[in-house]
């Protein structure tokens, strides 16, 4: 998490107040104090953060969210940092690492816990208490706890923890105004009996057996504590509608049907409206119609047209033209649309349930249910999806997921052109063959990677939050934050990508590769010679490749079109996603993905061409 590390370093190496003040004129102590908000996922932490700072952060922490730390200011200008929702500080994933670092560097911690799951949540609380951090506890979701017949003795909880506790209902704002006044009383609370010092504690985390022993003590301590503060009203607690509803989605038939509905909606909204209609407007009308000509004119005033520099700056793949056109004309609306969709699924609690249903299938290819997020995002933009593979628990899973994404998942830009071409290649029958082939290849590739890669993948342990109605305001803010974070990260890579392609164009490397490919295209894939160009274009942008095919399609048979589509889908991911893979997975792995995609694309394409001609299906 390159973006999140820097601030911590500064924090933990902060110089003592007195020596700093000599250099920096007037700096109030309060201003330099950093407060960190911590808690388990889905406890209402972000609502608390928003109410304290007025800024927005993600509502829940189900995979797909970024690990960046939202930062805001309290009314007295102290810094408040949010951390990702975690179940512990055990370095199991980047989110836990980030949360631990932030907590260790904090001056004070506000720990949000849910009254519904005290037994689970107080485990993290105890961990922070054992780190001897000055802290206070916000006991949230009190209304739901009351509704379920749970009574919590707050003053007893305060005494047992040794830190202030405030009861709140974050969604309605009840109790939130008491947090700040109480923060002044935040203090170091009660550790578990015979708790080692902080250095010994952090060292313990590195030793699995000793850690389990420590966690056992902590668990016992917390369970005993919870026993003393909670009284469960006897009698039946009715199963809430959200729980019934949630369980209903775990039924395979309902799950499958709802999954189909979810995918069709996604297809209509993102595939047709956004990547078709909206992008058509933003890219063609707005960018190509107005912005790009203006840039080209401006550049030509300084650099003469026809020179190599002009081509690099403002040519067909120019750094100033194509990257702008792509980032703002295509990516921005697309990513926005995708994140709105995924945020709605996430906030209503449906996404974790899809993860549960898909777990069985995904575990066959060395992934677990969590991988549904990158895969769904992949149908939007493989670059975005590759970034989101960070939420997977192990390097092994990230390798498998990013390889599958790069090779077998067509992104929405491609899907739009694909739809048009499928109509020419025989419609429904062509779709079935195409989808069947890709699923087969995905299965083979995943199974092979799962066999070859050393180690074993992690199994699913997933907390299912209650189903609830998503709040439009939260969805919009969350979508905005995510889109911005992604663009900030990916935009430089798109610029780099277009620079590489422009240089290749100027130096003649593009034409050379095209010539090199021609025999392969004509002899092996049985396609027209010009088709070689579409493969090259497919490297620049995946949909360019498919679009190139579109212009050739009147000279081709249905079988040829289908074989070409299979090849293009499998063929190298676009240059932006390739740069992201390099960044996330390293050069060696990226080179292997590249080589693998060439090999698979041409092998599968050639075989498809022959099978189709031989069988005469199309």
């Amino acid at each position: 998490m390159s973006t999140s590390n820097a601030p911590f370093l500064q924090d933990s190496h902060r110089c003592p107040g007195s020596s700093c003040r000599e250099n920096t004129a007037v700096v109030d102590v309060a201003e330099t104090e950093t407060i960190v908000l911590a808690g388990n996922p889905n406890v209402g932490k972000s609502v608390v953060f928003n109410s304290l700072t007025g800024l927005y952060t993600n509502v829940s922490n189900f995979p797909g969210t970024t690990v960046d730390i939202p930062k805001g200011f309290l009314p007295d200008s102290r810094v408040l940092k949010d951390t990702p929702g975690v179940y512990g500080l055990s370095k199991y994933n980047e989110e836990e690492l980030v949360a631990e670092k932030a907590i260790l560097a904090a001056d004070k911690v506000i720990n949000v816990v849910s009254a519904l799951s005290l037994e689970r949540d107080l485990f993290l609380t105890q961990h922070i208490l054992d780190y001897r951090k000055p802290m206070m506890v916000v006991l949230n979701q009190m209304d739901e706890a009351r509704a379920q017949g749970l009574e919590i003795d707050i003053s007893k909880l305060e005494t047992l923890l040794g830190v202030p506790v405030i009861a709140t209902v974050a969604v309605t704002g009840e109790g939130l105004d008491q947090i700040l006044p109480m923060l002044a009383r935040a203090c170091i609370g009660n550790t578990v009996p015979d708790c080692p010092d902080i250095e010994a504690l952090t060292a313990l985390e590195g030793n699995p057996a000793q850690r389990l022993h420590l966690y056992g003590l902590r668990r016992k301590h917390v369970n005993a504590l919870v026993q003393q503060v909670i009284t469960r009203k006897t009698g039946v607690t009715p199963l809430s509608w959200s729980k019934r509803f949630g369980n209903w989605f775990l039924n395979p038939v309902v799950g499958l049907l709802s999954g189909v509905v979810a995918l069709l909606t996604l297809y209509q909204v993102v595939g047709v409206w956004i990547s078709g209609d909206l992008v058509g407007f933003t890219e063609e009308t707005l960018m190509l119609g107005y912005v790009v000509p203006v840039i080209q004119k401006a550049v030509s005033a300084v650099v003469p047209q026809g020179t190599a520099l002009y081509t690099i700056l403002a040519g067909e793949f120019g750094v100033l033209t194509m990257s702008l056109q792509y980032i703002f004309g295509v990516l921005f609306p697309l990513i926005l649309g995708f994140y709105i969709y995924i945020s709605i699924l996430e906030d209503c609690g449906y996404l974790p349930r899809i993860a549960v249903l898909c777990d069985g299938l995904l575990s066959k290819i060395g992934l677990n249910g969590r991988a549904v997020i990158p895969i769904i995002l992949g149908f939007g933009c493989v670059t975005m999806a590759t970034v989101s593979t960070r939420v997977l628990s192990s390097q092994r899973e990230r390798t498998i997921a990013s390889t599958i994404l790069a090779i077998t998942i067509p992104c929405s830009a491609q899907i739009a052109v694909l739809i048009a071409l499928m109509a020419m290649a025989g419609g429904f029958k062509a779709w079935i063959i195409y989808l069947g082939l890709l699923t087969l290849i995905l299965g083979i590739l995943g199974t092979a990677l799962n066999k070859i890669l050393p180690g074993k993948s992690t199994s699913l342990i997933l907390d299912l939050p209650p189903m609830r109605l998503p709040q439009p305001k939260n969805i919009l803010r969350k979508t905005w934050v995510r889109t911005m974070v992604f663009l900030k990260e990916a935009a430089p890579l798109f610029v780099l990508g277009s620079l590489l392609v422009s240089v290749a164009q100027v130096t003649g490397a593009l034409v050379a590769i095209q010539k090199l490919l021609t025999p392969l295209t004509v002899k092996w894939l049985q396609l027209p010679a010009e088709a070689a160009q579409m493969f090259i274009m497919g490297m620049v942008r995946r949909d360019f490749g498919a679009a190139g095919l579109y212009y050739l399609s009147d000279q081709m048979t249905s079988a040829q079109i289908l074989a070409a589509l299979v090849t293009i889908t499998l063929f190298v991911p676009c240059i932006a996603s390739f740069t992201v893979i390099c960044k996330e997975r390293g050069w060696l792995e990226s080179a292997l993905v590249l080589a693998g995609s060439w090999l698979m694309a041409f092998t599968a394409g050639g075989i498809t061409a022959r099978l189709l001609t031989w069988s005469g299906i199309l």
Binding site: E119, P208, G360
Partner: protein, 75 residues
Amino acid sequence: MTKITLQDMQTGQSAVILNIPDIDVATQAMRMGIAEGQYITCIAKVPAGPTVLQHGGMELAIGQHLCQQIEVQLS
């Protein structure tokens, strides 16, 4: 009483956790409140997929592979 694993539980059954052999799994489960001696209820089973448990106020999905390793006793 013969020992069974989480995987063998049917929807609606309750059990007490006896043993989680894998140290890493035990650590992770411990944080969630699932430890030896705890009572859990199986609320859903996805065919060839995870088992969904209820424990206290929370619901937890556990992958098939893990379920086969966690020993429980029906209550």
